[in-house]
């Protein structure tokens, strides 16, 4: 087992390193601004005095590396600095929103994961039948549609024409859980549609790959009943690709959430990011980007570690 821990630790270290490099990228990208933040924010109203005053307030008179270290140190403790527009701390502005976004993503994941795994395995078993072909065209269409297209179609049919769910996901803190689930159903469903399509295709490909391997054919030839081939022979080897598929698609949810939040006016971190980009509120942009990138890297890491844990062959790289 010592071997295994070392492998996992090595992968974790690599993930941490990637995160560090990405944080450097996010911080120093803003340094590339023509002029600097103070000039960009003040814009037309910039006089030499106001620019100098703002630089002093933001600490821009200190060297960039020092500011980066301070920023990173704060970010690790959840302090992302102060918003340039409103002047309030960034962590307060996006804290609740981050929870909302996590809620939405979790809601979508809880629905999407079981459905897509079951459907993916089903289409893999029924491959090259009419059902498989139809599923192929439908999932391809769903993947190819921009998230806002699916979102507005759902609004049109489920909110405007039939009035079953609210079109705008306005939240307040004193709502009951069922009310909350009802309010956020449409954005969650949009995410479910996109992610399910991705997951189904990836599960299908993984299972078909597996079913083509010689040992499955051997099991079939010696007369094992089909359900037993699946449960006893195929499934243990299928966990690795399935875990991989789940983690990768949860990572995909993270980006999908930005567009969906804007469509449904959902008070999440994606919406905050888009607003901050329009207003050029760099501390918020940096904080949101870092959070999104960290989640993305973490989930990719989870996919790799999951694969290492469930597939002994990966523990002995040639």
């Amino acid at each position: 087992m010592g071997d295994l821990t070392r492998l996992v630790l090595k992968r974790l270290g690599l993930g941490l390193l990637t995160l560090l490099v990405v944080s450097i990228l996010i911080f120093f990208a803003v340094e590339l601004l023509p002029g600097d933040i103070a000039e960009a924010v003040l814009g037309q109203s910039a006089t030499p005095e106001t620019v100098a005053e703002m630089r002093r307030q933001l600490g821009l008179d200190q060297p960039a590396v020092w500011r980066y270290l301070q920023w990173l140190g704060g970010a690790v403790q959840g302090d992302f600095g102060v918003s340039l527009v409103s002047g309030e701390p960034v962590s307060e502005a996006i804290g609740d929103r981050f929870v909302n976004t996590l809620f939405l993503a979790a809601y979508a994941a809880v629905i999407a994961v079981p459905i897509s795994i079951i459907l993916g395995v089903t289409v893999a078993l029924l491959r090259n039948t009419l059902f498989d072909r139809v599923a192929n065209v439908l999932t391809l269409t769903s993947i190819s549609s921009p998230e806002f297209f699916l979102g507005y179609i759902l609004i049109l049919f489920l909110a405007v024409k039939t009035n079953m769910f609210p079109a705008i996901a306005s939240l307040s803190s004193d709502m009951s859980l069922s009310e909350l689930l009802n309010r956020t159903f449409l954005p969650a469903l949009t995410l479910v549609l996109v992610v399910t399509a991705h997951m189904m295709r990836m599960t299908r490909a993984a299972i078909i790959n597996l079913l083509a391997s010689p040992y499955i054919e051997m099991a079939r030839l010696k007369g094992t009943p089909p359900w037993k081939v699946i449960v006893k022979h195929a499934l243990p080897n299928a966990w690795a690709p399935i875990i991989n598929v789940i983690a990768l698609n949860l990572a995909y949810l993270i980006t999908g959430v930005v567009l969906v939040e804007v469509v449904f006016v959902y008070p999440g971190i994606g919406q905050a990011l888009v607003d901050a980009v329009a207003k050029r509120d760099f501390p918020i942009v940096q904080a949101c980007c870092l959070i999104f990138a960290a989640t993305f890297i973490l989930l990719n890491l989870a996919a790799d570690v999951g694969a290492i844990l469930t597939n002994p062959r990966l523990r002995h790289p040639k």
């Binding site: 990208a29 009419l130 190819s144 549609s145 921009p146 049109l156 024409k161 993305f296």
Partner: protein
Amino acid sequence: MSVFVIGYYAALIAASCLAAYFNYRRTFMLLFSLTLVSFVLGIIGGTPALRVVTIFAGALALAVGTSYAFKEFLVQIARPNLAKELRTAPLTASFGMFVIFTYAIAGIFAPVIAPHGEAEVIASAFAPPDANMLLGADQLGRDVFSRIIYGARNTVGLALTATILAFLMGALAGLLAAVKGGWFDQIMGRAADVIMSVPSLIFALLMLSIFGTSLVVIVIVVAVIYSPRVFRLTRAVAGNIVVMDYIEAAKLRGEGDWYLIRREILPNSMSPLIAEFGLEFCFVFLLIAGLSFLGLGIQPPTADWGSMVRENATLISFGDITPLIPAAAIALLTVAVNFVVDWMLFRSSGLKEH
């Protein structure tokens, strides 16, 4: 029982009988199960449900017919060995080619096809459709139909430019990395890892917030975000070719790197690269559509599908589907490209799933 309902069931049953008589087993199963489903649907949803099924089936038949005819057309005009390939193409692929062809025509001849200019205000805001305006007017009173046609030129053109740039950068770096190896390969590989570890939309938002949203910036940013994908594929494909004996022979002959790339490696890695170009286009197109939906893409008054959806989204709450048409146009083109890419991948890799 209206004439429509009677005709509907009569047609279905007659078609199933014909299929059964001529021993088309799968067609029969399809038609007859549709008949059985229609009984249930007819009871639950009444005539409207059956009408929806008819319209849907009609649209499907039209699409199948068009793609079949277009395929035959392509087979007729193509050179002999290309025609042989095309003959084996599935209908989805020829449907994709037909759609791409239509978009290309719309984009190239936009000023001729569109009845009005893209920024021309001709009516009051949100005016309903009339003889002059096929789809009505948008929030400023511009003709929606003309703007959709111009959008084919602007949105697709932008995506295509970004894809080509991404492809040139990624493929060149990949080929050089495969040929040179060593530190160049290492640096490029690590840089690609870092770029790919940030979600593309997030990365694009970060860069656009810094550099502003001019067209040049969008093209470069999107190209940088998606070039690592091309880099990895090219590096992998070319890496397999570089170890071949004929490359060794060419090196011994004293050929330079550039000759190796151009005359030995590129011709042998063309087909996966072309398929990748299609896939890449889909990603870039969806990213650019997403950005312009967020108001960070092509700036007004230039017509653009993503921002058109956003600007007219209020109409949806009145049950009007006009704002969805540009979004559907984006989806349709992406599906079409995917269909063609699927066929190309199948052809080039012999990916036969049996």
